[in-house]
């Protein structure tokens, strides 16, 4: 058996697990591990500028690949700085392992320098955590952390490593664990046959069915089977903000995103459906609006790998616990026994209705405006990237514009903080995407508020030559806050206006990148062409957009799914 230090074991275990990238920042408690990272070339370490960004990079890396993202930080502030990133991953079920340094075991609890109880601090926002107490336990703890992070409903796992156990001067026998399974952890993948039969009976009977597809379908790599099911049933499909791309956004059966800023046709389809098939979605409050008025006519079939997500907010009539890929496979098998020739005919009235809702063209905006409309920028972005870029986003109006005006044909292309709504997520997430896909176009759509929450990472981009394209929809305001203040607070803009905006072009140039400023509509197309022609460098487009634009449609609070504002003056 090989003898090595605890620090070397950490690196060796990562090697044996096939980890290629670690996003991190060194500090006292992890210096031994950093030392062990030198002199090996299997694990590439990416030095960030702020630990929060390390977590978002690992997150973007994981979202765009399905591979668990890895973070390495020191104790105390290094560890606590990752908390927002961990919470972001937790809310969106993203597989991530955070290796945090800890003060030496004998000093735990003494308020030692850079000591925080990381296991305690992170407890409500992790899937699980480990405080490793002996060097020989390191391989198993780390291997189990990866196993837990990326099975069942994925999520972040923290492994806290006291400094004394990773000490480079001591040697211990290293053994990669042959088995990481745990008697207390057995995620269910296959749906219960009786429930599958009930679900199929309900789908076959339905005259107004709809598939409501969430992030769980992307996690389970179920796009193929979901598409097969949708085409077999011939029914409309809507995706959640997290599910965009799980079903192609350019498919004729796609009715758009649903929820607070969903399309009229998606929300009306949901509200009027007689059978809702929820696949890896969790009936979040940003989808349902008032649960009391939620889809009164529908039989609700809820498929999810996490039993706790089922009937948490909206009662499911037919719950099915399992992985979306496996369960939809079972549904397809069961459906093979049914004669479905009549689907087109049976659903013709339903489609007539949906097509009528579509004619409202709820995403129309003022095309004649000389002030640049944010929607226009996203449309231009779609054209210049052939609709095939990895698009990361920050949080706010620009996030909704990107989600609504950039249809995603493939899963894992839309990277955004859906559950936690973390401003500052976009740039580091796009960096994680670029590390995972060095040959692809990685774009971040951001706002003037969000970008400044992790702008220091432009320095990391230079160090690693990341040719990211930053599309800043600059409206000189915190747009979504301003929109709510316009609607609810009679236009009283309390602290939503940013008076001291930096000169972004100069700023990115100072960081060693290319900046392009766009103030007029007629410059937009050329500027974008220049941006995407630049393959080697990061290009930052500072685009001045209409400050008064709102995101519509928008659900009306306390209403049903389909109670929506359509513009500043119109409602459904």
């Amino acid at each position: 058996m090989k003898m090595m230090s605890g620090a070397a074991m950490v690196v060796q275990t990562l090697n044996d697990l096939g980890v290629k990238h670690v996003f991190g920042y060194p500090g006292g408690a992890v210096l031994d591990i950093y030392d062990a990272l030198l002199g090996q070339d299997q694990v590439e370490h990416v030095l960030v500028r702020h630990e929060q960004a390390a977590a978002h990079m690992a997150d973007g890396y994981a979202r765009s690949t399905g591979i668990t993202g890895t973070v390495l930080v020191t104790s105390g502030p290094g560890a606590t700085n990752t908390l927002t990133g961990i919470a972001t991953a937790y809310m969106d079920s993203i597989p991530m392992v955070v290796l945090s340094g800890q003060v030496p075991s004998q000093h735990i609890g003494e308020d030692a320098f850079q000591e925080t109880d990381m296991v305690g601090c992170s407890r409500p926002i992790v899937k699980h955590s480990f405080l490793v107490k002996r060097a020989v336990d390191i391989p198993k703890a780390i291997a189990q952390a990866y196993y837990i992070a990326n099975t069942g409903r994925p999520g972040p796992v923290v492994v806290d490593l006291p400094k004394d156990i990773v000490n480079v001067t001591e040697s211990h026998p290293y053994e990669f664990p042959a088995d990481v399974t745990m008697r207390s952890y057995n995620p269910v993948l296959k749906g219960h046959n009786k429930q599958i039969r009930k679900a199929v009976a309900s789908m076959v009977k339905a005259k107004r069915p709809v598939l409501y597809v969430g992030g769980g379908a992307i996690t389970a790599e179920a796009q193929g089977k979901v598409t097969e099911l949708a085409e077999l049933l011939g029914c409309p499909v809507t995706c959640t903000l997290m599910g965009l791309g799980a079903f192609s956004g350019v498919h004729e059966q796609f009715v758009g995103m649903l929820g607070m800023h969903g399309t009229v046709e998606a929300n009306k389809t949901m509200h009027n459906a007689d059978c809702i098939v929820a696949l890896g979605a969790r009936f979040d409050d940003r989808v349902t609006n008032n649960v009391e008025k939620f889809c009164p006519h529908a039989d609700i079939i809820h498929v999810d790998i996490d039993p706790a997500s089922i009937s948490k907010t909206v009662n499911a009539h037919i719950p099915v616990v399992g992985s979306i890929d496996v369960v939809v496979g079972q549904i397809l098998e069961e459906l093979a026994h049914e004669s479905l020739q009549s689907q087109t005919e049976k659903l013709s009235e339903w489609w007539t209705q949906i097509k009528e809702w579509r004619t409202q063209n709820c995403l129309d905006f003022d095309q004649s405006s000389q002030v640049i409309k944010p929607q226009k920028v996203i449309e231009a972005l779609y054209q210049h990237t052939n609709g095939d870029a990895f698009v990361s986003s920050d949080v706010g109006q620009h996030q909704m514009f990107a989600a609504l005006y950039y249809p995603f044909a493939k899963p894992r292309r839309w990277i955004n903080s859906g559950g936690l709504g973390t401003m500052g997520f976009g740039l580091p997430a796009a960096m994680g995407v670029q590390f995972a896909h060095p040959e692809s176009t990685s774009v971040v759509v951001t706002g003037d508020g969000s970008i400044q929450m992790n702008i220091q990472e432009l320095s990391t981009c230079l160090q690693y030559n990341l040719p990211i394209k930053v599309i800043l929809l600059n409206n000189r305001a915190l747009g979504m806050v301003r929109q709510w203040q316009d609607m609810i607070y009679k236009g009283r803009h309390s602290n939503s206006y940013v008076e001291a905006m930096p000169d972004f072009v100069k700023l990115v140039e100072a960081y060693g990148h290319v900046g392009i400023k766009v103030d007029h509509l007629d410059e937009l197309d050329d500027a974008m062409a220049r941006c995407f022609a630049e393959k080697e460098k990061l290009v930052f487009m500072d685009i001045a957009v209409d400050q008064d634009e709102h995101v519509y449609p928008m659900q009306i609070k306390y209403g049903a799914m389909d109670d929506m504002r359509l513009s500043k003056t119109e409602r459904t």
Partner: protein, 165 residues
């Protein structure tokens, strides 16, 4: 309505704090909590008394089950079960009259006097929570209570139903 939930979990550091965390994090009530190692020292058994309607209890059970350290969860109150709680209570017993009244109540409730001093009795009683409540009220009527400590409810299902790994 009182609901009793039994949890079988790994006897591992941090496991208890995760359970308690779910309660505070998701806004569930804990009336009492009783936890100790089982006959298998690698496992702990935890009994939680809580309140809530069926939806809340269903969520509590699901959220407990979701914890990696938890093997099994069941609601005891959904079927026939036995439950017990233990209380230790110290009362003032400094006169002949109060002493004999306390002893009479101890007999009636089948409690036990564990410790005697010049001025105090320390009494043990085991039973259902309601019986303990009644005993403490009765004691308080004839004497004054110095202090008391209760273990919280602990229970098992009747018959062959059991919570095993």
């Amino acid at each position: 309505m009182k609901r009793i939930i039994s949890v079988l979990m790994e006897n591992a550091p941090g496991a208890l704090s995760r359970i308690v965390g779910v309660f505070s994090q998701r806004g569930y009530n804990v009336d009492s909590l009783c936890v100790a190692e089982t006959d298998d020292p690698s496992l702990s058994r935890l009994t939680i008394a809580t309140q809530g309607d069926n939806k809340v209890i269903e969520q509590i059970i699901k959220q407990m089950n979701k914890l990696i350290d938890v093997l099994k969860v069941t609601e005891l109150t959904e079927a026939a079960h036995v439950e017990r709680e233990l209380v230790l209570v110290k009362v003032v017993a400094n006169s002949e009259a109060s002493r004999s009244e306390i002893i009479r109540n101890v007999d009636i409730f089948r409690a036990k006097i564990l410790d005697v001093s010049a001025v105090n009795y320390t009494i043990e009683l085991t039973g259902a929570s309601e019986k303990l409540d009644a005993f403490i009220t009765t004691l308080g009527n004839s004497s004054s209570i110095v202090e008391s400590a209760r273990t919280g409810v602990c229970g098992l299902a009747r018959g062959e139903r059991a919570l095993t790994p």
